[in-house]
């Protein structure tokens, strides 16, 4: 368990979205508002941590040749259970996250971390890895959704802050609709990745 190193990797040097380029689909699709970003980020962080723990526990019993199949079963089971439990006992959270939870099964960050980290490390380290990678993912989602929501709809925190209305910064009709649509997602993500690469190169942390 390397507390600081793993944290730094998750947030910056091995950031799942900006450096490992994992989980692109959900990143592009859902970052239209701040509340979506928070919802998806938190759900992925929780499920990633839990699935990392279980896969780390099972890593000595799963033969190498069938590991991917086994991981997928574990992850899908987990996501479905969390989905059902949320729907039954925390209906408000389930309503706001409803769309994202099934998407998590196919989020390749989870399978990617299971394969590259949890299957090779102990339980504690894997749990911490899940938290760090999840945080890194959440931060990128938040950055993207703040930018896109601001430029596209002129608000901050719609659907969550200020009684669901969000804070309006400029009138909606001045917003660039394009930014909330898929093309805006690609533009924002491209700029963020470029900034990350530039920063990593300038601090001598690698980058190509």
């Amino acid at each position: 368990l390397q507390f600081g190193k793993q944290l730094k990797e998750g947030l910056i040097t091995e950031n799942p979205v900006l450096v490992q380029l994992l989980g692109m689909c959900s990143t592009l699709a859902i970052t239209t508002t701040f509340s979506n970003g928070i919802g998806m980020g938190v759900s992925v962080t929780v499920i990633l941590t839990l699935s990392n723990i279980i896969i780390s526990l099972l890593r000595k019993y799963i033969p190498n040749k069938i590991r991917i199949a086994a991981y997928i079963v574990v992850i899908a089971t987990f996501v479905t259970m969390v989905d059902l439990l949320l729907q039954a006992y925390l209906p408000d959270i389930a309503d706001s996250l409803g769309v994202f939870i099934p998407l998590i099964v196919v989020n390749c960050i989870i399978l990617g971390r299971a394969e590259s980290f949890a299957s090779k490390h102990g339980v504690l380290a894997s749990a911490w890895d899940g938290i760090c990678q999840g945080l890194g993912y959440t931060l990128v989602l938040l950055a993207m959704s703040i930018i896109r929501e601001f430029l596209g709809s002129g608000t901050f925190g719609a659907g969550m802050l200020n009684g669901g209305e969000g804070y309006r910064i400029f009138a909606e009709s001045y917003g660039a609709q394009m930014m909330v649509q898929p093309v805006g997602g690609f533009l924002t993500l491209g700029v963020l990745i470029a900034l990350m690469q530039w920063a990593r190169r300038n601090t001598g942390k690698g980058g190509k």
């Binding site: 239209t32 508002t33 509340s35 979506n36 099972l58 019993y61 799963i62 033969p63 040749k65 069938i66 199949a69 086994a70 079963v73 574990v74 899908a76 089971t77 479905t80 259970m81 059902l84 439990l85 729907q87 039954a88 006992y89 209906p91 409803g98 769309v99 929501e149 596209g152 709809s153 719609a158 659907g159 609709q177 909330v180 649509q181």
Partner: protein, 219 residues
């Protein structure tokens, strides 16, 4: 059948493992397939199968337990939500489902809204498709065939685009007082689609028209 499967599985380890087995097979003058059907290999395949079997059995058992535990609560929530939506589109003392209604055009259930012991209108549950996939709506229709209200129970439309239709009471209220078939377009008799959210608008419009047809068909 199972023999064939074993043979196919037996081919898998061939590439991954080193040249050793191939060499051994050659020395003994047997084909690779029959080599891999040897006792040792059978054990390995059995181990793979057993591990995967155990994992899936445990996973399905857990899922079964959680499903059985949560189903009553979830069903109750959905019923409450649907009931609340029905009240919002057509107020009534209670709703009586028409038992032998065979759903069509996405209309999944047709209910009579009973007010003071008499049927005061109909409430339909309708499934439709928007931009983000399936959505479920409740549509109220009065005895004359006019829409009394539309409510969206479940949807997966894009935040800030499709939600301008499905989460906007003002847009959904446009349907009130219209009778079918409702056309797309502005004016008194049409429904004006929200620009940028054409698919979501079409989805809601299709659901409302399906409900109007269903009610017209039983009257």
């Amino acid at each position: 059948m199972s023999g064939l499967k074993e043979k196919l599985q037996a081919r898998l380890p061939k590439k991954a493992e080193t040249a050793k087995p191939e060499k051994a097979a050659k020395e003994k003058g047997r084909s690779l397939v029959s080599y891999f059907q040897s006792q040792k290999d059978r054990k390995y395949i059995l181990r793979l199968t057993a591990t995967l079997l155990v994992i899936t059995v445990v996973a399905s058992a857990l899922l079964g337990i959680v499903y059985a535990q949560t189903k009553p609560t979830i069903d109750k929530r959905i019923r409450e939500k649907t009931e609340a939506a029905m009240r919002s589109v057509l107020e009534a003392d209670y709703y009586r489902s028409i038992a032998d209604y065979a759903g069509e055009n996405g209309v999944t259930s047709l209910n009579e809204a009973v007010v003071g012991g008499r049927v005061g209108g109909y409430v339909c549950e309708v499934d439709s498709n928007g931009f983000g996939g399936a959505m479920s709506l409740v549509v109220g229709v009065d005895l004359e065939g006019f829409v009394t209200g539309v409510a969206v129970i479940k949807h997966s439309e894009t935040q800030n685009i499709g939600t301008k239709v499905v989460e906007s009471e003002a847009v959904l209220a446009d349907f009130e007082g219209l009778s079918g078939p409702i056309a797309m377009g502005g004016g008194e008799e049409g429904f004006d689609a929200v620009s940028g959210a054409t698919y979501s608008s079409n989805g809601v419009l299709a659901a409302v028209n399906a409900a109007l047809d269903a009610v017209a068909a039983i009257q």
